[in-house]
Symmetry: none
DNA sequence: GTGGTCTAGACCACT
DNA sequence: GTGGTCTAGACCACA
């Protein structure tokens, strides 16, 4: 399910965080589902267990997964995302940066919003934008 | 014009890249305008010249500025952004990540697109989305 | 009577220790009252008997309960808590830590003492502080 | 300044977090002060740099210190503690536990509140409780 | 079996 | 010089 890019600027543990978060958000994993153990995932991805562990700790901090001592790690019912204030702020900042980058690349507003629309749709489905 | 946040996850040289790019995109600087020399900017910002130099190299790589030997550094005509393919790809990837993050934070599609719309408008102004 | 939070940083056996101690302290259980057997409690809570056993060992160590061979386990008369010196020391240490945490969170002394007062009152009732 | 207890149940990195937080709260270190580098502190305490790093990352997450890339780590002006909601919740929970423990140890309400008063005073000084 | 902590030692990005 | 990431491998607590 998770595919790492070996020579990427984004650290491995962040790639795991992003991809696992994506799996949950897309519904591929649901609340209560067991995620692979640290050892399992590390041997699947051929990386060090500590790296997986770091990713899981970050995901737990964000309320995406929950660890049950001695039993394993599970997708949490993510009704209440953690660190919401900090994360929303970061989202806004990054969005601002991307808008600049888009215009710097010569994209028109229409082209940019079209990019977003297609991404949004693949996640939220066909809700009307008026939702 | 450029304000650095010492306490920030994004490196100083990237902050310079982003902010100078923003100045150009917003029209505060136009093609042909002279950009402060490495020494000038580094003393204005109280940072190491190497840091400014690194930023300028990146900006030149992206075709935002152009150094003319012996004359100085200038904003280049932004008709032909460089590395467009790579940068567009990166833009798409980051957008995809932010959409996931937004949904993970519990935002609705409407809320997310509203965040973007307000950012877009401050840059592209009131062009109709049909532009 | 005992409610476990599977998702919690505190181990299950400690949760049992704390909650049983709380029941005694609040008067819900009194000296001589029979405590469920290890098997009973483990099947009530759907957990491993070893976990309950570990909790009971700790409670006995602290003098909260007393096992009588062949008869069962009972709340002991809490006149002479065991390990009082060690436990009082630990209490002091943790209090010191919490005071730091409270101030670090920006609480005023008044706010902090108010937090404690409300907790104290629910346990000791309305004794005057002069008790 | 920082003294580790080798054979303690609380992990080394947490001891560092607590003690450094205490130094800040007590005014021994102030906003802007440089904290020892990861390598310095690790060699002072004779522990692994990674352990210090873990502590510093936690302290940064809580808004106690700030890292400046390539320059070092500094006490931040802690006007806005991070993760306040989560931490306040944890504080309340632990307080509740300590009250039970105090009564279980046979302390009277007066004795317990006296313990708190002396700790509070050493931190907040002689503000009236009515502050 | 699970995850958490710690060590030793390496490499890299940033300043 | 700084901190951040990753690996390899060890030990421990919890269930």
């Amino acid at each position: 399910m998770i595919r790492l890019q070996e020579h990427s600027a984004t650290p491995i543990y962040e790639q795991i965080v992003e991809q696992l978060k994506a799996l949950v958000v897309k519904g591929a994993m649901k609340a209560g589902d067991k995620v692979p153990s640290v050892r399992e995932l590390s041997s699947m991805l051929l990386i060090n267990p500590n790296t997986v562990s770091k990713a899981y700790q970050e995901l737990e901090r964000q309320g995406v997964i929950k660890t049950i001592r001695g039993k394993g790690t599970f997708v949490s019912s993510n009704e209440a995302p953690r660190m919401a204030a900090e994360r929303t702020e970061a989202l806004q900042r990054e969005l601002r940066r991307l808008v600049v980058e888009a215009k710097s690349l010569g994209l028109t507003r229409k082209q940019f919003e079209e990019m977003i629309r297609s991404e949004s749709q693949s996640l939220w489905g066909d809700e009307r934008a008026a939702d």
